[in-house]
Symmetry: C2
């Protein structure tokens, strides 16, 4: 284990001033070519690594973008992380991902860490139990660019990338109605979150519009999981009125429902139709293949990164509102 060498070590060894070394390393034209090459050679040989803490303390900026997601272990988010990571790298940024674990407290800690370390910018999707947004407001206060996607804080002025959940859920519900289903249930997340609230409104409006008697929603507050999906179907089937179709908000829930349906000998789509959110290979693996609502992770990532990049370059001001909506679409398969 060796001590890291600093700019001053190089200077001392080469008998020049450390400011000259600093300039040489940054290819400043003011330093003589011979001196520069000498410095560069020495630096490389001794594995000099800039101390970013010193650089940033001095005032320059970081090239790391922080990404906050509720759960990395979720196709939708990990797809977006993956896309963003590539986009950022092409532009010279490095993405650092933080997982809030759907937990408000961890989210606050993460945001504080980001502020303390002075990251270049933040792209975030909030945790399920986040209702307070003072921590995110702090980013605005301190001038750190922030872009929300998918799950957003409604009361913060900052660019947001949303998915058109209202219309697509309305459309999906109407599709089921048109197919003749009468008792459509909606399995979703906490409605104080925009994503789930919007879907609920779309669902409700479709049900009302067509005057259906059955209106049944289940909000899952815990983590989305196959287990939760199974319990959900068990519950719905134990009630006096049972659904003949389900719209489900997460791939894990949907798979749980499908597995449980098989165990209860419910045939899909004859006894139970199924529409799921999310774009996962499982939709193709399932038998019958799952009709699902597709939201382009690539498009979301591109727009979000573009907005953040513009904020970093001061083309968009901190605190400026700028909401982009991404269209979703229904991929029709066999489950209804």
């Amino acid at each position: 284990m060796q001590k890291r060498i600093t700019i001053k070590d190089i200077a001392k060894e080469l008998k020049i001033h450390h400011s000259t070394v600093s300039r040489a390393l940054r290819n400043d034209p003011r330093v003589n070519e011979i001196t520069r090459d000498m410095v560069l050679a020495y630096a490389q040989k001794h594995e000099y690594q800039t101390n970013m803490n010193a650089v940033q303390l001095r005032g320059s900026v970081n090239n790391t973008i922080a990404l906050i997601v509720p759960n990395i272990n979720h196709t939708f988010f990990s797809d977006i992380v993956s896309q963003l990571s590539n986009l950022a790298y092409q532009k010279g940024f490095i993405i650092s991902v933080f997982q809030s674990n759907e937990d408000y407290t961890q989210e606050v800690d993460i945001v504080n860490t980001i502020i303390k370390h002075n990251y270049a910018g933040v792209i975030a999707s909030i945790a399920k139990n986040t209702t307070n947004s003072t921590h995110f407001n702090l980013l605005n206060t301190f001038g750190i660019p922030l872009v929300f996607f998918d799950r957003v804080c409604g009361d913060i002025k900052t660019p947001k990338v949303l998915i058109d959940n209202y219309n697509i859920t309305l459309e999906a519900t109407e599709f089921l109605i048109q197919k003749g289903y009468k008792r459509i249930a909606h399995v979703t997340g906490p409605i104080h979150i925009n994503v789930f609230g919007d879907r609920q409104n779309g669902y409700n409006d479709a049900i009302k519009k067509h005057g259906l008697g059955y209106n049944r929603q289940i909000s899952i507050n815990q983590d989305f999981s196959a287990e939760a999906g199974r319990n959900c179907l068990t519950k719905l089937m134990s009630e006096t009125e049972n659904p003949d179709a389900i719209i489900s908000s997460s791939i894990l829930l949907t798979m749980g429902i499908a597995v449980q349906a098989r165990e209860m000998s419910l045939r899909i789509p004859q006894d139970l139709a199924l529409i799921g959110f999310g774009n996962h290979l499982s939709s193709l693996i399932m038998q019958p293949q799952l009709t699902s609502i597709y939201q382009s992770e690539k498009e979301i990532a591109e727009i979000a990164f573009d907005l953040l990049d513009k904020m970093i370059n001061k083309e968009i001001a901190i605190g400026e509102e700028c909401t982009k909506t991404v269209k979703a679409q229904i991929v029709y398969r066999e489950s209804c």
Copy 2:
């Protein structure tokens, strides 16, 4: 947008010395209670946030652990990331995840970023095209704790968490042989990576041991994907001798093979038996359900974190070799 207040700002405003403010904020017993409360109140009111760059420059350590994975968008890795994130948080650390995108160049950049920012430690699994390990050696050189898991660099002395790929693949192959399959193919990754190399050896030894004539391996060098899986099966079936069973290294490959098998009207397990690596819900969704090799992500994460924690606490020295092997197990289902 407001300027961040510093310890000196607080000192000036409260007409005391900034060193006193520093001690007050850190609850140093040497500072008067009244003064301390005054400082704390002022700091809270004005949203003081420690400048970590200054703190670290001064010499103290970071509480952020870096995690490097080839691809976040992969159940195995995202499961481990998720587990690690929880474990670390409980111990007061924050996990920051970096994705190498299976790319050596990005991996090098990430490691350099980590060194430059002086992270507390690193847990890593290497990219497919990483053969050189000087960048990881640099971590050792500079005394940054490093733990490898799953895909490791063989020539670095540092703690590693491995999965018993050799034995489990041998066992899986023998299971198929015992079931009467004669032409077993092995679809895997680049064999210079320990994970895939070990599996190949296990497979080969089983085939040899039982004197089977058919020995067919395919190494996929590109990203594992369903598409790659489909192409793989197409290729195998176009050869003069075709497999009657396949062991496949990644859930995406396996699903691709299954989808393609269906399209080619190959019945599973009658025409083609299938064993896949990985612990994914899709295994249950598939019909027939997939027999798969299960490696406990929870266990891997726990051991890896424990090792890193011990390194950070100097209980394990930098550069000490310490390899833990995690047993895998076969979960028998319907696909063979």
